[in-house]
Symmetry: C2
DNA sequence: TAGATTGTTAATCGATTAACAATC
DNA sequence: TAGATTGTTAATCGATTAACAATC
């Protein structure tokens, strides 16, 4: 095994796989907190998130040493540390482009504010939609993009049809947006330095179908988690 | 390196990471086909999907040898092989529970039929919603679940609020559903043999925020892909 | 034959798991 | 002290990448 110094880990940062699980831990902790639980353990977090307890401990150890041996983790303290690590101690402006069914549903979704994400603009290309009120905001025209994405850390969400997504993506990048969540069913082409994550129902269903098919063919094997 | 026989690979099946990319390749091929492209290469597929060309070749090799050295891949033939591997040569019945904004948006989304997924039922707990027409179907009551999930390979989609999701999940499983796509912001507890995939906007935004924060702190480093 | 591109090997890298010393 | 649980190590496993022989 190769030696990895503490400095090296800090340089490389928290592993991607760990970062992807931190929101789950945070949600479990928030739920515990709401139920009045003040202290927890890697076993309890494991049960709540479906992750192994050894992995919970390893993940949390990347944030520093926030537990107490023989005792566990303080729910509030650990929540704060995870939120800090994820960058949730500030507000993040969010802008949604594409006010079709999905865009409207997302805009109406309450989960943004809870996590420190603030809807700052809703946009659409269709002049018939521009000016309409949606979720307490007024839909803006695409020409307003440079002004609306003025905040340097704006997160862009694309909910347009697939054929419009690349053009919208280019416009977002031109306006300075470098973090994009893409719901359109296309792979976006972006320059280095732009971070795109995709959410795609068709892909998820296809993966479920694949696993289901595997299980039908070899019913004695357990499903992969 | 450990020896892995061809038999062993067939037993273990296609790696999860590969399965997750197959839908991207299929989509790129479908797009090529629509543009009249009849032949392609691992380089072209790599450019279209943002995956390295070596990985494209390795992924495709798990499906068998469907390319021609020095020539490339036949677009139609490769599409068929990927669709076959994913289990898309048949129709998959899909059932959505939770007819709020998101559930309605998903029901209205056209992408289901295209991929061989067929909406067979929409359900909601609210009596005021039951009976309403949505996307050409009539919303059913939860009591109809056992009958509606009668087909053994029904894929269940949960678009309820978080607090109702576990209960709905249990009901789906009791009705025989073993493949679930969860849009609710909770970790679902399921027995072995049930496959759950989750789609969560808040988690995705938190991961984007984390990366963005990292880049602000060390702007000289490129972003992870 | 010369050029192109696959399929596969081997090396590397990153993620997971099990075990246990440290320590409350 | 006895029991519990973390934080860390080492082993294992799986995924990615680079290189290139095979072959059209």
């Amino acid at each position: 095994m190769t030696e990895v110094s503490a400095t090296e880990i800090r340089r490389r940062g928290i592993p991607d796989a760990t970062v992807a699980r931190l929101p789950d831990y945070l949600r479990a902790l928030t739920s515990m907190s709401g139920r009045g639980v003040v202290s927890t353990s890697s076993e309890a977090l494991a049960a709540a998130t479906g992750v192994g307890s050894a992995m919970v401990r390893k993940d949390l150890s990347f944030l520093g040493s926030h537990g107490v041996r023989g005792v566990g983790y303080d729910v509030t303290h650990l929540s704060v540390e995870i939120a800090r690590a994820l960058g949730l101690t500030r507000d993040w402006p969010v802008l949604i482009v594409g006010m079709g069914n999905l865009g409207r549903a997302l805009a109406a979704y309450g989960g943004f504010a809870a996590g420190g994400f603030q809807l700052v603009a809703l946009m659409d290309r269709d002049p018939a939609v521009v000016g309409q009120p949606v979720a307490g905001l007024v839909v803006s025209a695409m020409t307003a993009l440079p002004a609306l994405a003025a905040a340097p850390d704006t997160l862009g969400v694309i909910t347009t049809p697939a054929h419009a997504a690349q053009e919208v993506c280019d416009a977002l990048i031109a306006a300075g947006v470098t973090s994009i969540l893409n719901f359109a069913a296309v792979t976006l082409n972006v320059p280095a330095g732009v971070d795109v994550r995709k959410v795609d129902v068709a892909t998820e269903l296809q993966i479920l179908a694949f696993h289901k098919q595997q299980r039908s063919r070899a019913p004695q094997l357990a499903v992969a988690p």
